[in-house]
Structure formats: structure tokens, C-alpha cells
Symmetry: C2
DNA sequence: GTCTATATTAGGATAGAC
DNA sequence: GTCTATCCTAATATAGAC
């Protein structure tokens, strides 16, 4: 494995574990057992490392996010879909922890990240619209828009919120809770296949509660 | 006005405007037109200033948050209630912007802040329970808990989420949207006085849209 | 209480040898 | 590509005079 890739890999790990602010270029060099000078040969400091890590995240996240646009989801696919989205965020959680301060320092990333959030809203609107058009949901336009916005918010800040409440974070259980928190909002609007939906929801919830204990 | 109070007041303003990380003790001294030495006479650096600002925020926020526990809210009070809560957050927004990094650096604040969030969940549960018991809402226990959690999340991260999307932030319009985003979630569960509720909601929404344009 | 002057430190960055 | 040695800078903090 090339030094450049190692730097990215270990930087991500350090940032996630210690918080980006608490990691210095020297720290990164130390865990890699290379000299600071060597680190600076590959990346001119933390900035370009963070920049590259963001591009990696952006690519992966958008790929997953936009998957349903080409091919609408089956009901039972939604669980997996949201699960994977939360996992992506968990993998790059350092970024979400201190969004504002990171984006302040790297203005180019700010507009890209903003685009990404707007895309979340659009995709959520599209998913909910499909469920509405297919007769699965009955929901007013205003409520649909509100829910899409809420989904985007939860898809951005749920993991951070969890980290705030519990010391444990980014575990399968906490992701499970996040997915349940999203999908259970559909309950009052489900018309077609309401029984099937409620059964899936209950199963999912029981599985979640079992994992907690 | 005593220098000590001035320091707190201007620090808060600077933190909100520039971001806490971008403000140095020397900056604070400069806007106050005092020497850094003088600043250090009153507060031993930024840490104690932030600590005191948090205590001020905590006190104000809890006072508002817990008001409905003594005296349940009338339906139309809820708008004002959530509005004031969002305003409190807006007043101390620097804190919410980089929660993780601030709490990392000031561990004593971390547990206090966590308590505050837990209290949000409790209070939201209590408010929704009252609406349920009084016959205004018909909602299952699971859905109520989920909604309370969601309210707490939105009451924590909505302003930050807004700041992420728009350059404009903490304006009356954005707070208005936040309140609407909370209260409109009740729609599918409203039974008693559904007409009255929908009218209030529509009025509120129109007012909001008018402000936007 | 307030100032001026100075000290300390840590993060960030580079030059030049190998 | 990698290392050693060194430098620069900005944030933080204190001493001592007024």
C-alpha cells in the first residue's frame, strides 16, 4: 500500500477517533511511523488531506443516495437503503461532528457540502413522491415536503445527535434506531398494504430492542 | 456597565459572528478597547468566558423549556413557546455550531449539555402526552416517543441545519420555518378541534411564506 | 483595574542531506 | 521517497509598573 493511501486511511481513523481539531500533522506522521517531512512531501498539511477525504466521502455518499432515482425502491429495500446511508456518515463521522468549523476553514467544501444536503432533500422528496404516486402513501403536498426536509435533517444530524446523548456512537444499534426513526414517520400515512408495513415495522423495532438489551 | 459583563457580552457577539474558534483573547480585548492583560485579570482566557456563557444559556433555556411543566400550554401557546426556544438557541448559536469541539474541550459542559438535551426529550414527551390525554391528539405510544425524540433533535439542530443550507441564518423567517416544521407534524394525529388546528396552521404557514417573499 | 512588555508553547511548514 | 533539523507564526499567558 502506497504511503499516500496510508496517510488518507490513518488520517480518517485518527480524525474519527480523536476529532479533527485534536489531530496535528505530527500525530498523523507518528501513527504511520514516518517523519513529518515525509508527510508534507505527500500532502501539504492537513488541509489537502481533509479535502481529499471529503471528495471520497462525497463520491461514495452520492452514489448510494442517488441509487433509488434510477430504480425506485421496493418497500423492504428502504431499510437497507437508509442503513447504508447512515453507515457512510459513520465512516466519515469526523466531518459531521464539526461541520461548521471545518466548512469555515475550507470554503470550497462548503458549497459542495451544501449541494449534497440539497440533493438529500430532493432525493427524499422523490422517494416519498413515488410512494405517494404508487398508492402506498396518502399524504398532502405540504406534509410531504415537510417530511422530506425532516428526513434530510435526520440524515445529516441523527448520528451527531446520538453521539451527543450517548457515549456509545455509530454502532449498529444506533444506526438501527436512526432508520426506525425515519421510517416510522410514515405510519399515519400508509394506506395500501398497511398491515404488511406495520408488521415489517414491528419486526424491525423488536430486532432493534433485542439488540439494545 | 462593569468590564466583566462587557467582556461576556462582546465575547458572545464575536463568537456568534466569527465562530468561537476564530476569536482569540486578543480579539476580544480589541473590540472592547482594553488590553489583553486586563482581559486576563477578569477571566483567565477564553475557557472561563465560554463556561460562564454556557451557564447563562443553560439557565435561560431551562427556564423557558420547563415553563409548560407547571402550566400546560394552550394550543395557540405552542407557537410562541417553540419560537422563544429557537430564539434562545439563536442568541447563543456559536455554541450549537461546533458543539462537539466545544464539548470536547470543556468536559464539564458536556454532561451539563447532555442533561439539557435529555430534558428536552422529557419535556416534549410531556407536552405531547398532555395533548394526547386531553383528547386533542390520538397517537400511539411508540409514535409519541418517536415524535418527542424528533422534536428534541429539531430543537437542537434545526438552526444549524438552516445555517448549513442558507447563508442567511437565525432570522425570524428561519425560526418561523422551524416552528412550522415542528408543529405541522401533529397534523395526521389531530382529532379534537381539527378544523381549528388546520386553520391556525394554514395562517401560520401563509404568514411564513409572506415573510419569505 | 488597567496598561505595556515580554514569555511560552504548540501547531504548521520547509530546506537540504541521504 | 524519506529523514533530520530547524524555522515561522499565532495563540495563549504572565510579570510588574501605574
Amino acid at each position: 500500500m502506497k504511503t499516500k493511501d496510508k496517510i488518507l486511511q490513518y488520517s480518517l481513523q485518527l480524525f474519527n477517533d480523536e476529532g479533527e481539531q485534536n489531530v496535528t500533522p505530527v500525530d498523523i506522521a507518528n501513527v504511520l511511523d514516518i517523519s513529518p517531512g515525509n508527510l508534507y512531501y505527500h500532502f501539504k498539511g492537513k488541509d489537502p488531506i481533509i479535502h481529499q477525504l471529503f471528495l471520497d466521502f462525497e463520491e461514495e455518499f452520492l452514489m448510494v443516495l442517488n441509487a433509488p432515482i434510477d430504480k425506485p425502491l421496493e418497500l423492504s429495500d428502504n431499510w437497507v437503503y437508509f442503513y447504508i446511508l447512515f453507515e457512510e456518515i459513520a465512516d466519515f463521522r469526523f466531518f459531521y461532528r464539526n461541520l461548521q468549523s471545518i466548512l469555515e476553514r475550507y470554503p470550497e467544501l462548503e458549497s459542495r457540502f451544501r449541494k449534497l444536503v440539497r440533493q438529500k432533500v430532493k432525493t427524499m422528496t422523490s422517494i416519498l413522491s413515488n410512494l405517494d404516486k404508487s398508492g402506498f402513501l396518502a399524504i398532502s403536498e405540504v406534509e410531504l415536503d415537510q417530511m422530506a426536509e425532516r428526513f434530510a435533517l435526520q440524515l445529516t444530524y441523527w448520528p451527531t445527535y446520538q453521539a451527543l446523548l450517548d457515549v456509545q456512537t455509530s454502532t449498529p444499534v444506533s444506526i438501527h434506531k436512526g432508520v426506525f426513526g425515519l421510517i416510522s414517520q410514515l405510519t399515519p400515512y400508509v394506506v395500501e398494504g398497511a398491515d404488511e408495513f406495520l408488521i415489517l415495522l414491528t419486526e424491525f423495532r423488536d430486532k432493534m430492542l433485542k439488540n439494545v438489551s
